[in-house]
């Protein structure tokens, strides 16, 4: 079973009234400061679709996800942070490296208790998408992401080697979409339930 997720980037010079409509759309999570490379909103693919017509004012980078694994430690999660990382593993990466990378990433919740719910997925569409994987987490607080997750030695001391251009085992492209938004409900409960 697959699901969809989209990163939405407002176009420069877009019609302000349409932009205001977009910003008020409850189905979109507005990215918080610190987001990198993923535009202005995340549509998490639950409930209503992205309101039609927004292609006129925004770029909608939609991906189709196929779950590799995930965990719903708190199905009743009521916030406050949903984070998504879209990444691209280089097409010439050795298969055993890709498998090791996937294993390492999915071990992060064992080392970082601040990760509440999580899902790791392969991007399986649409054709031509630049992304290969999606790594989503939910946190009770923003510090859970910015401190516990980012500053964990497991993250910078081990996992990041797959991303680091100074390390020979790097297999992930430098251009990432690292985005997060406030939420009052569990997106992943719907995805994993």
């Amino acid at each position: 079973m697959s699901r969809t997720l989209a990163l939405v980037t407002l176009a420069e010079g877009a019609d302000p009234s349409r932009v205001a409509e977009l910003e008020s759309a409850a189905v979109l999570g507005k990215h918080l400061p610190g987001t990198v490379g993923g535009g202005h909103f995340t549509w998490d693919g639950i409930d209503d679709p992205i309101p039609p017509g927004f292609e006129d004012v925004a770029d909608v980078d939609l991906v189709e996800l196929e779950l590799i694994d995930g965990s719903l430690a708190d199905p009743d999660f009521t916030g406050e942070i949903k984070r998504t990382l879209l990444l691209r593993v280089e097409p010439d990466a050795p298969a055993d490296s890709v498998a090791a990378f996937e294993r390492d990433l999915m071990a992060m919740p064992d080392h970082i208790p601040a990760i509440v719910n999580w899902a790791f997925s392969r991007v399986v569409g649409p054709p031509g998408t630049r992304w290969t994987h999606s790594w989503e987490q939910e946190y009770y607080t923003l510090d859970g992401l910015k401190v516990d997750y980012m500053m964990s030695p497991h993250h910078w001391g081990l996992i990041d080697g797959w991303f680091d251009p100074e390390i020979p085992r790097q297999i992930v492209d430098l251009e990432l979409a690292h985005v997060y938004h406030a939420t009052a409900r569990s997106v992943l409960a719907a995805a994993l339930g």
Binding site: M151, W156, G157
Partner: protein, 112 residues
């Protein structure tokens, strides 16, 4: 909380190319590393004499003050395409290279 972090580069160099790699590191990396917040703590050569028919390993030990400084270093290197280009040039002289990160560890008391 993690304090000082050491960055350990081990460059296993093809026979006959030690000076070339030393020069690359000195002229092509040191200044940029310093600008990214890295302090060079020590360099080593092992085996401790140049072998002309087998590889030698050059070891560079750097440090950054803490995890925030580590991310600053990492971010700066990621934004500068010349850094990856530099390592590609070094890798062409090496049979193997790795970078590891180290923190202080407590050595337990050994009972007699």
């Amino acid at each position: 909380m993690v304090g000082k972090i050491h960055v350990l580069d081990e460059l296993t160099v093809e026979p006959g190319r030690l000076d070339e790699v030393r020069r690359l590191m000195t002229e092509g990396y040191m200044a940029g590393a310093k600008a990214r917040g890295m302090t060079l703590e020590q360099t080593w050569l092992t085996p401790p004499i140049e072998l002309f028919d087998q590889p030698n390993t050059l070891v560079y030990l750097w440090s950054v003050p803490d995890a925030a400084a580590w991310w600053a270093m990492r971010g700066a290197a990621g934004r500068d395409p010349s850094v990856a280009g530099f390592w590609a040039e070094v890798d062409a002289c090496c049979v193997e290279r790795q970078r590891r990160f180290l923190i202080d560890d407590q050595i337990g008391e050994v009972e007699e």
